[in-house]
Symmetry: C2
Subunit: 411 residues, 2 copies
């Protein structure tokens, strides 16, 4: 049965799930209002606050894949005509624009070449000029392997009285990301990357500044409202989606437990267990582990004689992009690796498709044997296809790095 295929997954997601998470997901179902389940929901919220490094009251998952979290936050915040500013440095900046445009926002963008990021000050100057209601930005761009410095943008957003929304889908749980310290008003994470929980949930958090915007648009659902409930928005325009209406989702995740959707039971089991695994390891240890294995991976790639597509200080530690040598069929190499080694690496999108390979080293997939497997399989595929690389060097370079490392990081 195809389902039993066992892969070494070194893509930017979905990555291998934590074994403890998969076991947790096979537990029997609990009803959504069963105290045993609502307790688990509350524990999940508490652990999400730790993950996001925030004291926000609201931290819960949207039932859908990562982009459902982006859409829930933006749909609940944006009213038609609102000015939104999006700095774009890869595919997922374009996704933010696409979502905002569908909400009839007035979207202002700036773009830089894929593989680079903006100077934070340029973004700050543009915010002051554009004066948007919302700044929406990607923290880590898996499409290019870059991470955008965000430490100072949020402060400007407070001064300019706009909301700072950050897509941390690729970085949460793998790369330092501080919601409160960085003055981020709403953030969206992903499960299937550095958390190593299967795709299907999108953890989000937002603070009281964002909540105030949502509260103006609050209405209680038809068919379950009581005489005391508003069934028309308080003063804002109606949120265009019922599924993504954060004012209703809040009521569901609060002690009132006002029915909305039926919570995705097994996915909550998985997220809950994934967060326990993560907090057992510790956030700082986890960030260090990701950088540790990234170094081994890069050492191996360079020893093979390949060029890194991104090697500057804003390289995303959890995604390493390799420039495909001229004349090489990038997809054929990936297919060879999957067929013969069961090792999966990724291509990229749009202008970079076929131009770079992307190797993810995220969460449970970010461990020594996976780095060594990926290097072995890539070298073998290239040699098999007569691409000139330095035979036998890559794995040795990675091993040498691991042997010499003073840092004692869990493998």
């Amino acid at each position: 049965m195809s389902q039993l295929a066992k892969r070494t997954i070194m893509t930017p997601g979905p990555v291998e799930a934590e074994p403890r998470v998969l076991r947790a997901m096979s537990a029997p179902i609990l009803g959504q209002f069963d105290p045993a389940f609502t307790e688990m929901m509350n524990e999940t919220m508490e652990m999400l606050r730790d993950l996001f490094q925030t004291n926000n009251q609201w931290a819960f998952p949207i039932d859908g894949t990562s982009r459902s979290g982006l859409e829930a936050v933006l749909t609940s915040l944006i009213e038609p005509g609102d000015r939104v500013f999006v700095p774009i440095y890869g595919r997922f900046g374009h996704l933010l624009v696409e979502i905002c445009e569908r909400l009839d926002a007035s979207v202002h963008t700036m773009e830089c070449e894929w593989g680079t990021v903006f100077d934070e000050n340029d973004v700050i100057q543009e915010i002051k000029k554009v004066k948007p209601k919302i700044v929406a930005c990607v923290h880590g761009e898996t499409s290019t392997g870059c991470v955008m410095p965000l430490q100072n943008i949020g402060k400007t957003c407070r001064e300019e009285d706009c909301l700072f929304v950050v897509d941390a889908v690729a970085t949460i749980g793998g790369v330092e990301f501080k919601v409160d310290d960085w003055f981020i008003d709403a953030a969206i994470g992903g499960t299937q990357k550095c958390l190593s929980v299967p795709s299907g949930m999108a953890p989000i958090t937002y603070n009281s500044r964002a909540e105030a915007v949502i509260a103006r648009r609050k209405k209680v659902e038809r068919g379950i409202a009581t005489d005391q409930d508003q069934t028309t928005p308080f003063s804002g325009s109606v949120i265009r989606s019922n599924y993504f209406d954060l004012s209703q989702l809040q009521d569901y995740w609060s002690p009132r437990r006002l029915n909305h959707h039926t919570e995705a039971t097994s996915m909550i089991y998985g997220l809950h267990e994934g967060l326990r695994v993560l907090l057992d390891e510790g956030l700082e240890n986890r960030f260090e582990r990701h950088i540790f294995h990234e170094q081994a991976l890069m050492a191996g790639i360079k020893a093979m004689g390949l060029d890194l597509f991104v090697e500057h200080e804003h390289k995303l530690p959890v995604v390493t992009c390799i420039t495909v040598p001229a004349g090489v069929d990038a997809d054929a190499v990936r297919s060879f690796m999957l067929t013969h080694f069961g090792v999966e690496i990724a291509s990229s999108f749009g202008p970079l498709h076929g131009k770079i390979w992307r190797i993810g080293s995220m969460g449970y997939s970010c461990r020594k044997e996976n780095v060594l497997f990926a290097l072995s399989a890539l070298e073998a595929a290239l040699l098999y296809k007569d691409v000139p690389v330095h035979s036998g060097k890559a794995v040795q370079a990675a091993l040498a790095y691991y042997e010499s490392a003073i840092v004692n990081v869990p493998s």
Copy 2:
């Protein structure tokens, strides 16, 4: 650990998951473009066609809970100002209205008392009068325990050139539902009810008439479009959601495999296995099994001296509603059953909260021991709270029904 609580779940969902489904969900992750996974996606589509009894090309799940499927279909079909007609006979008719109104549809409704359904001919006359672009209707209302006859409405919709959209969340896989024979243009099912797969996916199907509406609004996502792709809609208005854009989801589920979200791997494993279990049993056998156990359950309830809230020919076989006797605290009885027996039954919503109990008998939960457990626990709770019921009669009546049954239905 709370997660290990093992319940007998006799609510209208989420119900107990099939053990084979839970095992399948603990399988290791596969990449979303891994041939081993795309083969499973294709098999899932094929089995969904059998489930919906359709030859439609498009039959795939939305990654979200049941209402995400409703919203995906309605968001992709409805343009602002479109006239939509919704006959309401319970809470979930109101939900359809709510979703349509948020899409700025011009919504026309008719309502009947909760616990009853419409005469099909009345609905047909109203369609001819209102001349909507879309008729949206719930097949089985879990909030009241009724099932609406739909056999003839779709034919009228064809004649009137409008689209017939049906919410079959509660009935799919448990009650006869024929997409093609009933001329249904788009249908939405649920996983956590009669399919006995955990909540978190919403299988949908739609035909070429619906596809034609969606095709006019098609645009390829920013950041992955090639020179050949449309990035503005062909002739219709832009679909307001990226996450729920069926024109993009089609491309993802088609051989082109154009990237959209990251498919929810473990949920697909669960749905795939749940559909295999269902087709192994056979749709007709499954429908008969649900009626078989419903009869035993009703016999027990009546023997106890309780009144059924719905007992007419349009009773939903998978949800049995009981009128709460005067003066009884309905929630306290449910809480007693959960605490002492681990048996969960449901309350209802809005005007019926506290007035009825709802007992679900769906999918894997629909089996002999669960019916007997539910009757035992309900009787014990009522006796403990000094509610006068006929002591010792309920389980005996159900057993007598099971013993006398000529039909040989798998327990």
